[in-house]
């Protein structure tokens, strides 16, 4: 049947998506154009990427990182992908296949790191061995390996697929605690400094609904299932709360985060310097750290000595707070 529905704001053709925050509908072509324009605006405003940069895209096999890789290549940037095998059972196996298929179909280079093969552990085992919530061990592992892979590979910018919803949820959590140190660091671009590559988040002006739509329109297959270890985490609760506000008042999420960047972040500039001034070198890997051994090497030390723990075991015992 033919929908008697709404029209694209730009060309008046049949719309495929409604975007309440823009009070508008768009057809496929003009929706993609809107997304490209938002990414270009973020890159330009925050000086995220230059034409001669070598970009490394942290790729999970999910919608955001694959959409980001697609958009950057489409815009003409030289961008390779980095996939980290986290060992979260079937979820990781399927995610890896999506990342590999995306790269292979487009002739792009995908660098792969396996936690189990190269560091002797996986995330379920790390959660058990360190008695840390899984998202914490996972985040620490990924951030360390993103940084080291970018530096060792000679990439000049590391980009991640964090979108407007991700950043608004983190901002919401930091604001609930008035955590000035974290608020001062919550920027869409961080310059390179000793031991760290330049990092950027080009999707901060786009929602995750828009990123999923990008993938559907562009025919990108991605991991739709949620990470089984993330279920019930605070980040998801913050997103649900913000989406409830968004439903009542479209545009609230974008105003909350983007106005923070414009109006609040400048007032906090320099407030996180104390933490970075005191960094030494990890005695094992040489990465910047406040202690003798960096957080990643502490996870490796404990987790690689532990018997492998299947993901099902962690899930059956660990539901709840993440």
């Amino acid at each position: 049947m033919v929908a008697v529905g709404s029209k694209c704001r730009v060309c008046k053709g049949p719309a495929i998506i409604d975007l309440p925050r823009h009070n508008a509908h768009f057809c496929a072509e003009h929706f993609l154009e809107l997304c490209r324009r938002q990414v270009a605006k973020a890159i330009e405003k925050f000086q995220m990427i230059s034409a001669d940069d070598r970009v490394l895209v942290a790729v999970s096999g999910g919608k955001d990182s694959l959409a980001l890789w697609d958009i950057l290549v489409d815009m003409g940037y030289q961008a390779d992908g980095l996939y980290i095998g986290l060992g979260i059972g079937d979820y990781s196996d399927v995610s890896a296949e999506f990342a590999r298929a995306f790269a292979a179909e487009r002739g792009l280079q995908l660098v792969e790191i396996s936690l189990r093969d190269q560091y002797g552990y996986d995330i379920p085992t790390a959660a058990k061995a360190t008695r840390r919530v899984p998202c914490s061990a996972c985040g620490t592992s990924k951030r360390h390996l993103f940084d080291s892979a970018a530096l060792e590979g000679g990439y000049t910018v590391l980009v991640t697929g964090h979108n407007l919803d991700d950043e608004a949820a983190v901002l919401f959590g930091n604001t609930l605690r008035w955590d000035v140190e974290y608020l001062a660091r919550q920027l869409p671009v961080l310059p390179a400094r000793a031991g760290f590559p330049k990092k950027a988040k080009p999707l901060v002006r786009l929602t995750e609904r828009e990123m999923a739509a990008w993938c559907i329109v562009r025919g990108i297959d991605y991991q739709v299932e949620e990470c089984p270890m993330a279920l019930g985490n605070k980040h998801l609760a913050y997103k649900a709360a913000l989406n409830a506000i968004e439903a009542e008042s479209p545009g609230s999420k974008a105003a909350f985060y983007l106005n923070f960047l414009d109006n609040m972040a400048p007032l906090l500039a320099g407030r996180s310097a104390a933490a970075t001034d005191a960094l030494g070198e990890c005695r094992s890997c040489g990465a910047p750290t406040t202690g003798e051994l960096c957080a990643f090497c502490r996870i490796v030390e404990k987790s690689s000595a532990h018997d492998p723990v299947p993901v099902e075991l962690v899930l059956s015992k660990g539901r709840g707070r993440r």
Binding site: M1, D165, E225, N233, N243
Partner: protein, 65 residues
């Protein structure tokens, strides 16, 4: 119509025509965190779904940090 839901993956049979927004409301799913794909094509909230359609309701929220 056949309606595929995710997380966890399951399928429902739903009788009668309705709009995308009505379907989401019936299933108690927020519009801001879901997209609806009708016969392989993305459709907006006011699109009509008919009994012969194959529909996927796709959640768009990721929990990664």
């Amino acid at each position: 119509m056949k309606v595929l839901l995710r997380n966890p993956r399951r399928e429902l049979d739903i009788d009668g025509r309705r709009t995308v927004n009505s379907l989401l409301a019936e299933l108690d799913l927020p519009r801001e965190s879901h997209l609806v794909i009708r016969n392989g094509t993305l459709v907006p909230g006011d699109a009509e779904l008919s009994v012969d359609d194959v529909v996927e309701v796709r959640p768009v929220i990721s929990g990664g940090c």
